[in-house]
C-alpha cells in the first residue's frame, strides 16, 4: 500500500513537473498583462514538435550520435525557436490590442491557438507522430519502486528551470521590473524600464519554458498530435489558477497538485476518464472558497 502510494507520488511528480512548466507561462503573462494567453497550450505543442523535428533530424543524419547530445541540442533548438514564436505572437497579435478591452486580447489569443493547431495540422497532417526515445526508459528498482532515468531527468530539469526562473524574478532587476509592471504599470517606464522589451522577454521566457516542457512531455508520453496542446494547456491553466494566477510559485505548486489529481484519479475512481471532472471540480471548489488561488493575494488597487 505504502509502496503503491510512493510509486504514484513519483509518477505525479513527473507529470506535475510538465504541468508546472507550462503553468508558469500562463501565470507570467497574466502577471504582467492581466491577460490569459489561451494560445499558450498550443505554443507548448509547437515546442514539442520542434524538439521532435530537431531530434529526428539529428538521428536521421548521424544515427550514432550520443543521445545526451541529441537531447541537449533538441532542448536548446526548441527553446530558442519557441521563444521567438512567443515574442512574435505578442508583437503581432497582442501588442496592437494593448489599449483595447481585455476581452479582445483574449479572443485573439484563442484565435492564435486555433491558428497554431491548424497550421501544424496543415503541414504535418493529422496522424500522430512518434517521439524518438532519447533517454533510457529501462527502469531501476529502488526500494521496491520503479524509477526510470527519464523520470529523474524530468523532475530534476524541470526543478532546475523553476529555481532559475524564481531567482530571476526575485533577485534581478529584470524580475523586479516584471513584478513592478504587474503592480503598477503606468509608472514603471519612469523608473527607466523599457516596458515593451520586458513584456517581450516575459513571452520569450514563458514560451521557452513551455518548449522545455514540450520536450520532456514528448519523451514521457511519446505520441504527438496537433491538438495535444488543448488538454494539457487547460490543465496547466487550471494549475496556474489553483496556485494563484500571477504568482510564480503558485503555478509551480498548482502544477504538482494537478499531477497528483491526474495520477490518483484512477486509484480512487473507476477510470482515469474522470480526471477532467476531478480537476475542474477542484478548480470550482477552490474558486468558491479562495478565489485568489492558494498563493495568490487579493489585489487592493489598480492604478
Amino acid at each position: 500500500m505504502l509502496q503503491l502510494l510512493a510509486q504514484n507520488v513519483l509518477n505525479a511528480l513527473q507529470l506535475g513537473s510538465v504541468y508546472a512548466l507550462i503553468a508558469l507561462g500562463y501565470t507570467m503573462v497574466y502577471g504582467i498583462l492581466t491577460m490569459i494567453n489561451f494560445a499558450h497550450g498550443d505554443i507548448f505543442m509547437v515546442g514539442c514538435y520542434l524538439s521532435l523535428a530537431a531530434a529526428a533530424f539529428l538521428l536521421g543524419w548521424q544515427a550514432n550520435l550520443p543521445l545526451p547530445l541529441v537531447f541537449t541540442a533538441a532542448l536548446l533548438f526548441s527553446m530558442v525557436l519557441t521563444a521567438l514564436l512567443g515574442v512574435t505572437i505578442e508583437r503581432l497579435a497582442y501588442r496592437p490590442l494593448r489599449q483595447a478591452p481585455r476581452v479582445s486580447a483574449v479572443i485573439t489569443a484563442l484565435g492564435v491557438g486555433l491558428f497554431l493547431e491548424n497550421f501544424t495540422l496543415a503541414i504535418l497532417g493529422p496522424e500522430p507522430r512518434q517521439f524518438p526515445s532519447l533517454i533510457a526508459m529501462t527502469p531501476w528498482e529502488v526500494a521496491g519502486l520503479t524509477v526510470t532515468p527519464l523520470q529523474i531527468l524530468i523532475v530534476l530539469l524541470a526543478g532546475a528551470l523553476m529555481v532559475l526562473l524564481d531567482l530571476l524574478v526575485r533577485r534581478t532587476l529584470l524580475g523586479m521590473a516584471m513584478r513592478a509592471i504587474s503592480y503598477n504599470r503606468p509608472i514603471v517606464p519612469l523608473m527607466g524600464v523599457p516596458v515593451d522589451r520586458v513584456i517581450s522577454i516575459t513571452f520569450a521566457i514563458g514560451s521557452a519554458i513551455a518548449a522545455a516542457g514540450g520536450l520532456l512531455y514528448g519523451l514521457a508520453y511519446p505520441v504527438l498530435d496537433p491538438y495535444m496542446g488543448i488538454r494539457i494547456g487547460w490543465w496547466a491553466f487550471i494549475a496556474a489558477v489553483v496556485g494563484g494566477i500571477g504568482n510564480i510559485r503558485g503555478a509551480m505548486l498548482g502544477g504538482y497538485l494537478l499531477g497528483i489529481v491526474e495520477v490518483f484519479t484512477p486509484v480512487f475512481l473507476p477510470s482515469s476518464t474522470y480526471r477532467d471532472f476531478v480537476a475542474f471540480s477542484l478548480l470550482l471548489l477552490l474558486l468558491v472558497f479562495k478565489p485568489t488561488g492558494l498563493l495568490g493575494r487579493p489585489v487592493f488597487e489598480r492604478v
Partner: protein
Amino acid sequence: MRQILEIIDLSHNFGGLRAVSDFSLTVGEGELVGVIGPNGAGKTTIFNLITGVFRIAQGRILYQGEDITQWLSNRITAAGIARTFQNIRLFKDLTVLDNVRLGAFSRHRYSLMESLWRSSNFREQEERLTRRAYELLERFQVAHYAGVPARNLPYGEQRRIEIARALISQPRLLLLDEPAAGMNHAEAEELIRLIRELKEEFSLTILLIEHQMRVVLNLCQRVTVLDFGETIASGPPQEIHHHPAVLEAYLGRDI
C-alpha cells in the same frame, strides 16, 4: 549658466479642458526653480509632459539642448530626469530595498543571459547596486526598513524612499511633485533643509511643484505661478510674494 531644461510653448488638453496653456520655462544648470499654483492649475500635468507620461501635442521640450519632446519615459529617465509623485507611487508589495533598486534600472549593463548564468559582471553590478541602495536608505535614515514591503511604512518615510528611488538613477534634473504635501510646519522646515542638502550632495538641478507657498518662497531661486493652466507670474520669490495676480489666484478676488 547652461540651460538644462527648456520648455517652449507647451499646451495640453484633456478632452475639451485646457490643462496647460502656452507654458514656457527655462531652468539653468544647478538652479532650484519652483512652480506654484492652486490645485488643478496644471502643475502635475507639466511634470507628466516632461517625463513622457502624456504625449506632447503642442510645444517642445529641450533637455541639455536635445529635443526630447517625443521621447518615451524610460529614455527620458535614462537621460537623467527623475521625479517623485504627489500621491506616493511606490510599488507597495515590493520591499523598500527593491523599490530603490528598481530606480536604477536604466543604469544596469548586463544581459538576460548573464543574469541566468549569474556571470561575474552580473554579480558585481548587482552587488554594487544593492550597496548603493543601502547607502541611500541610510542617507535618508530608513535603512532599517530595507526588507519591509513599502506599503507598511509611515507616510513620511514613503516620501523619502521615493526621493531615494529617484536619486539612485543618478539624475541631473530632479522633479519634485509637492514634496511637502500633508506635512505640518516643522516637517516642511525639515524638508526644505533636506532638499537644499540633496541639491549640493548630488549636484542636482531641481524643479519643484508646490502647493504650499511657504515652502517655495523659502527654497526656490525663481518661481513661476500657474492658474488654470496659464502662467500668471514669474520671477524671484520676493517679487512673486506680493504680485497682485498671485494673491488673487490664492486668496480670491477682493469684493
